[in-house]
């Protein structure tokens, strides 16, 4: 599976989103599942999947799906 596919999967699994949900519209707190608890769980899953450790500034800046994809590029996930 491509990395972008893996990121998508993690987002859908973390927040119980089906295939129809357009991830491009997804931002922090735009759905009840993406609260602070959901956020830390998302970060942990992304870190596990790609075997990385994100910096604090990146964790607190990760405010949407699109930002997440960009941030992960910084950590060599393309």
């Amino acid at each position: 599976m491509s990395n972008i596919g893996k990121i998508e999967n993690i987002f859908r699994q973390e927040f119980n989103l089906d295939e129809k949900f357009d991830l491009k519209t997804l931002t922090y707190q735009s759905i009840p599942e993406w609260d602070s608890v959901g956020h830390m769980s998302l970060v942990a899953s992304l870190e596990d999947e790609f075997n990385i450790e994100m910096e604090m500034d990146d964790i607190i800046d990760l405010s949407s799906y699109e930002v997440a994809v960009k941030t992960l590029v910084k950590y060599g996930v393309e």
Partner: protein, 448 residues
């Protein structure tokens, strides 16, 4: 106790204040949010000695409707009323903007015995039970907390806890009362905007529940440059000991006062604390009673436990012990039912220096990310859905056993939905048969 100075208030607040007369109003339903406008409304109502039901801004409209039916508030100041507007005929709309203000068409001519603040016992399950906190309770606890935390007018804090929650509200109360500065924000500690505010306004006092401190650890709080912080205080449940070590060590190196605190909404907010100089040696302790408070331990036959290291139920006595509970307006006619004595439901012991330690719970409650969840309540609700379930586990990790394998995913999603807590806090397991004793009582010890 609280003051408000009219010419320092915002226009938004004055507009709302001027559309109703407090004279005929005894009970108000008010939805809390982390804004200056809310704090103005709240403080103003406190100066008028009106009874206030404080609810979360996330309470569902169906639950608000039930509250209106049960409590018949004379005035409702809500974030949104649209969905239930047409279902409640007894109210007229006075104002619709940041808040919607609805007044009861006919006031109820009854007598609320003791004006009070009504806080929910659990933040998110939509429990109908409220704790009756008198103005005297509020004043006593506020003064006591200011005293032991030495909150000063030069202090600055930020609202990272919800204000309908007794702990969050106590932070607001103590800082307002001391003339300290409060920064209002809805951003949470995992957002950049929050930390920008902390730096910009030179926040000195940070408060959090265990989960806040877990997050702070994960976002590498210990590497942050926050030279203005003078006080960090943790309450709302037990913080993992290893993590507590990290904070205690970090704070003692940086010259920050670190407090562990213990309390319940039934005691307005706080009952005990660990003084910073003792935090290194009294790890895992809930500390000593707050000024003007006192602890006792009671054994199974309600006798006082006099020996150290002996477990008993923790009983708190003090002027901040609430009056009792209320689920209807009628309950507000009742006198003080507790007389300053609170059986906490926590099992505890004390060491030979008088420091208390919680060892377990008498009642069946868990805390999930700071929200107190009644296991009994969840089991009953699942039973009503036709699902046989037993709930248990530890704080931040609730395990539910069910006997219908096909319902596992459903129950997991349902639990998250009903508690408004992320599904990672829940584990749902299948079991053939729930173990029970002869009388049908569930044998929890075999499951958890």
């Amino acid at each position: 106790m609280f003051k408000y100075i009219e010419n320092e208030c915002t226009d938004d607040f004055l507009r709302i204040k001027n559309i109703f007369s407090v004279n005929s109003i005894k009970l108000i339903l008010l939805q809390a949010e982390n804004t200056l406008l809310f704090s103005e409304l709240y403080t103003y109502l406190l100066t008028q000695k009106i009874s206030i039901i404080l609810i979360s801004s996330e309470v569902k409209s169906s639950e608000i409707k039930n509250l209106i039916i049960n409590f018949k508030p004379d005035l409702c100041i809500l974030k949104s009323f649209q969905e239930i507007k047409n279902q409640i005929d007894d109210y007229i709309c006075l104002y619709e903007k940041q808040y919607c203000v609805y007044e009861r068409k006919e006031f109820i001519l009854d007598e609320i015995l003791i004006p009070c603040l009504l806080l929910s016992t659990s933040g998110s399950t939509g429990s109908k039970k409220f704790v009756r906190i008198s103005y005297e309770n509020l004043e006593a606890n506020t003064k006591s907390i200011i005293n032991y935390l030495s909150i000063k007018s030069t202090d600055i804090t930020i609202t990272n806890l919800p204000l309908h929650y007794s702990f969050g509200l106590s932070v607001l109360n103590t800082h307002l009362y001391s003339g300290a500065k409060v920064i209002f924000t809805n951003h949470s500690v995992i957002q950049k905007e929050f930390w920008d505010l902390v730096k910009e306004h030179r926040v000195t006092n940070l408060f959090g529940v265990p989960y806040t401190f877990e997050i702070l650890d994960k976002i590498r709080f210990f590497r942050m440059d926050l030279p203005n912080i003078r006080l960090i205080a943790q309450a709302g449940g037990k913080l993992n000991i290893l993590l507590q070590d990290k904070y205690v060590d970090f704070c003692s190196q940086k010259g920050i006062e670190y407090y562990t605190m213990y309390g319940q909404t039934e005691a307005t907010a706080r009952m005990s604390y660990v003084p910073p100089i003792m935090s290194l040696v009294k790890k895992g302790s809930i500390g000593i009673p707050i000024p003007d408070g006192r602890f006792e331990l009671r054994d199974a036959s309600n006798q006082i436990v006099n020996d150290a290291e002996t477990v008993g139920e923790l009983v708190y006595c003090g002027p901040n012990v609430s009056l009792g509970y209320a689920s209807t307006r009628r309950d507000l006619y009742n006198p003080d039912e507790n007389s300053g004595v609170l059986y906490t439901g926590d099992l505890a012991k004390f060491d030979n220096e008088g420091y208390y330690y919680i060892v377990g719970r008498k009642n069946r409650f868990l805390k999930l990310y700071g929200n107190r969840i009644s296991l009994e309540d969840l089991e009953d609700k699942l039973f009503n859905l036709g699902i046989e379930a037993v709930c248990g586990g530890v704080d931040d990790n609730l395990t539910t056993y069910i006997t219908d394998f096909s319902k596992i995913e459903f129950v997991k999603k349902w639990l998250s939905k009903i508690t408004l807590i992320h599904s990672s806090a829940f584990e749902v397991k299948f079991i053939q048969k729930i173990p029970r004793n002869i009388s049908g009582k569930i044998l929890y010890t075999e499951l958890f």
